[in-house]
């Protein structure tokens, strides 16, 4: 009886003091409980976009919010609204004193943000990155939205689906020297040689990441190679540029257009039947997976060395080293493109 009474008194005292200290709670206390917290405790997860007004990240936020409400976590979504590179750091540092449990960051400045993320880690906050990585020592995992192999294979497979097995196609790239473009091309060629050996890549033209240059290059390609069946643009301004050229040449549907780009700038061409497929990743899934991973790392359910991870309704994802792979790129077509707004 006496024991019961004293424990009740203790509980009341704890409740009283925790109520009083709502505002002055030491920042480390929120974080230190994060590591060994019981499942079921509501966590605060902070999601940092590169910039806040960007529709791409708004779309990530949608998925993230869905994940947070499934998990019963609180989601904070905040990021820079101007071009000040110090803003991301300031927001992260505010989150540190705020006492969040986990931070998931898309990094604008790799080196700069890493300083703040390391500081968060030293205070016991779990840190992961998504979309754009920080330095590896500043986070536990990177949610990698697409590997070069995934992108290259998806583009080539899509091209093969749309054309005859002996069709000619051409590539519009950003520049001949850009490292990521070269890497994607390497995998496009690998997939072609292995699986579609009769298809022929007739030309690679750079468009300097400009829509009008992509358009003029495509116009030139169409007259140089009259039996061209498909244009594959592997930089985002290239896709609408190539589509515009095909449309103006009156060859919509005869010459197919696919590419790596954003849904919004291609919607019109997709609905007109000029562009058949736009390839990227599903940004809502990216946000969803990121929040699930942040939650699991903070609860201690996901540790370095794990090779797979189950994220709610999306199922299981592969982990390669410290990269959680979002998996196969997503294909936007006439049927699904209107569901996305970025």
């Amino acid at each position: 009886m006496k024991q019961l009474f004293s424990s009740l008194l203790l509980a009341a005292a704890v409740a009283f003091f925790s109520g009083c200290n709502k505002n002055n709670e030491a920042p480390s206390s929120g974080a230190s409980t994060a590591g060994n917290s019981k499942p079921g405790k509501k966590l605060t997860i902070a999601l940092l976009p590169k910039s806040k007004g960007n529709a791409y990240f708004i779309s990530c936020q949608k998925g993230a919010q869905k994940a947070a409400s499934e998990l019963g976590d609180e989601l904070i979504f905040d990021g820079p609204t101007d071009t000040d590179p110090a803003k991301q750091n300031e927001i992260v540092e505010n989150w540190i004193t705020l006492g969040v449990d986990a931070i998931a960051a898309a990094c604008e400045n790799k080196e700069g943000i890493s300083t703040a993320l390391r500081k968060a880690q030293s205070k016991g906050i779990k840190v992961i990155t998504y979309d754009a990585d920080s330095l590896p020592d500043a986070r536990t995992f990177f949610v990698n939205q697409a590997t070069p192999q995934g992108i290259g294979y998806a583009l080539m497979d899509q091209a093969a689906q749309l054309c005859a097995s002996n069709a000619n196609f051409a590539i519009i790239t950003a520049s001949l020297t850009a490292a990521n473009q070269q890497e994607w091309q390497k995998y496009i060629e690998e997939d072609r040689a292995k699986n579609y050996p009769n298809m022929k890549m007739v030309a690679v033209k750079p468009c300097d990441d400009l829509k009008d240059k992509a358009q003029s290059e495509t116009t030139a390609l169409l007259s140089t190679y009259p039996n061209l069946k498909l244009i594959m643009a592997i930089c985002s301004p290239g896709v609408p540029g190539a589509a515009e050229a095909v449309k103006q040449a009156g060859k919509a549907g005869q010459v197919k257009v696919i590419g790596l780009g954003l849904p919004n700038e291609n919607k019109m061409y997709v609905h007109e039947g000029v562009t058949q497929a736009v390839i990227l990743w599903n940004t809502m899934d990216l946000g969803y997976l990121t929040v699930y991973a942040a939650d699991a790392v903070a609860r201690g359910n996901l540790k370095p060395g794990d090779t797979s991870f189950k994220a709610g309704s999306l199922g299981t994802f592969e982990i390669k080293g410290d990269n959680i792979l979002l998996g196969k790129p997503f294909v936007f077509t006439k049927e699904n493109i209107d569901q996305f707004d970025f």
Binding site: K22, N23, N24, E25, A26, P27, G30, K52, I76, D78, G79, P80, T81, D82, T83, D84, P85, A86, K87, N89, E90, I91, E93, N94, W95, I96, T97, L98, G99, N109, K110, E111, G112, S114, T115, K119
Partner: protein
């Protein structure tokens, strides 16, 4: 007879007092609704985040007091940051030497502003609008917009990220600058001449004060302080890139004007500027801690500026109205 108000009333209605009340109200408000806002850790963070803009605002105060303006400080911060990185990484200078060279660059750049304004008699707004583009353009050209300086030694990063005797390591630099500008504006003959220049440059010249030299000094000081801010900024972020300090000139000017310094010159104080910087910094941190979107900070800073200016003009307007009323009454009685 009612033009001579008691001294306590003057102090109470001074712009700075109103701003101090606003600042305290802000603090109490965010402490009540924000999570972990009033903690010591967060106070240190507020100090660290406002250090660079605070420094720029301090240096901007004498400039605006003379009736001038310096729009180039943010761009100069960017230029100094990448030159500091270049001196250290590419010229293999030790950090103190690189810092000294950066300060020299800052002084030189300030000197460019100063000589264009005082020797050629060009308007400060136009001159510094030009160097605003020039300095940022130079920074982008030198780095081709992509080169980033990083991997600074941890002994240097200490200045921006760690605590020294329990306070942020950059705080002593800021306090030093604060004491210097306080002395300069309020306790030296320079300060008196700045106000005089702001009120009436020609009259001041007839009074035998070397107006050109005094004005030039404020721009050179702004250049040096931009360089100091650049070094601290680099230490805080651990990187130097050409976009460092983007838009900081406007934050600094906002803080100075919020602090009660007249944009036409002649009136103003360093403690007003200090309060202005603090009011903006507390607001920006408070918004995040209250889990409100950070773009609210921009809106509220604007509202705060308008509110504070209105509040300090209102008492004067009321007393002017009263005077007019009593004058009318007198006129009526006489007729």
């Amino acid at each position: 007879m009612n033009t001579h108000k008691p001294a306590w009333k003057n102090v109470l209605l001074a712009h700075e007092t109103i701003l101090l009340v606003v600042l305290i109200a802000e603090w109490i408000f965010f402490d009540a609704i924000g999570r972990n806002f009033g903690t010591y850790d967060n106070t240190c963070d507020i100090l660290r985040h406002s250090c660079e803009i605070g420094l720029l605002a301090l240096a901007m105060t004498p400039v605006i007091l003379t009736g001038g303006i310096d729009l180039s400080v943010g761009s100069l911060l960017g230029l100094c940051a990448i030159l500091f990185g270049k001196f250290w990484r590419d010229a293999h200078m030790p950090i103190p030497e690189a810092a000294a060279c950066t300060l020299a660059v800052g002084a030189l750049a300030g000197g460019v502003n100063a000589s264009l304004i005082t020797l050629l008699n060009l308007p400060p707004l136009i001159v510094t609008l030009g160097t605003f583009s020039l300095f940022r353009g130079l920074a982008e050209a030198i780095t081709h917009g992509v080169d980033t300086f990083t991997d600074f030694p941890s002994s240097f990063l200490f200045l921006g990220q760690e605590r020294w005797l329990g306070i942020p390591a950059q705080a002593p630099v800021f306090i030093g600058a604060l004491i210097f500008f306080w002395w300069l504006v309020h306790f030296s003959t320079f300060g008196r001449s700045y106000r005089a220049i702001g009120f009436a440059p020609e009259g001041t010249r007839y009074a035998g004060i070397p107006v050109g030299r005094r004005v030039a000094m404020t721009y050179v000081l702004a250049g040096i302080v931009s360089a100091i801010a650049a070094i601290i900024y680099t230490a805080r972020l651990g990187q130097a890139k050409a976009d460092a300090g983007n838009g900081y000139e406007l934050y600094a000017i906002t803080a100075v004007v919020l602090g009660g310094t007249s944009i036409f010159g002649g009136i103003g104080s360093v403690y007003g500027t200090l309060l202005g910087v603090a009011a903006i910094a507390v607001l920006q941190s408070g918004i995040v801690h209250a889990l409100q979107p950070s773009e609210m900070a921009g809106m509220l800073t604007g509202a705060l500026l308008i509110l504070a200016l209105t509040a300090s003009v209102l008492p004067k307007m009321i007393s002017r109205l009263r005077q007019r009323k009593s004058a009318l009454r007198l006129a009526k009685q006489n007729t």
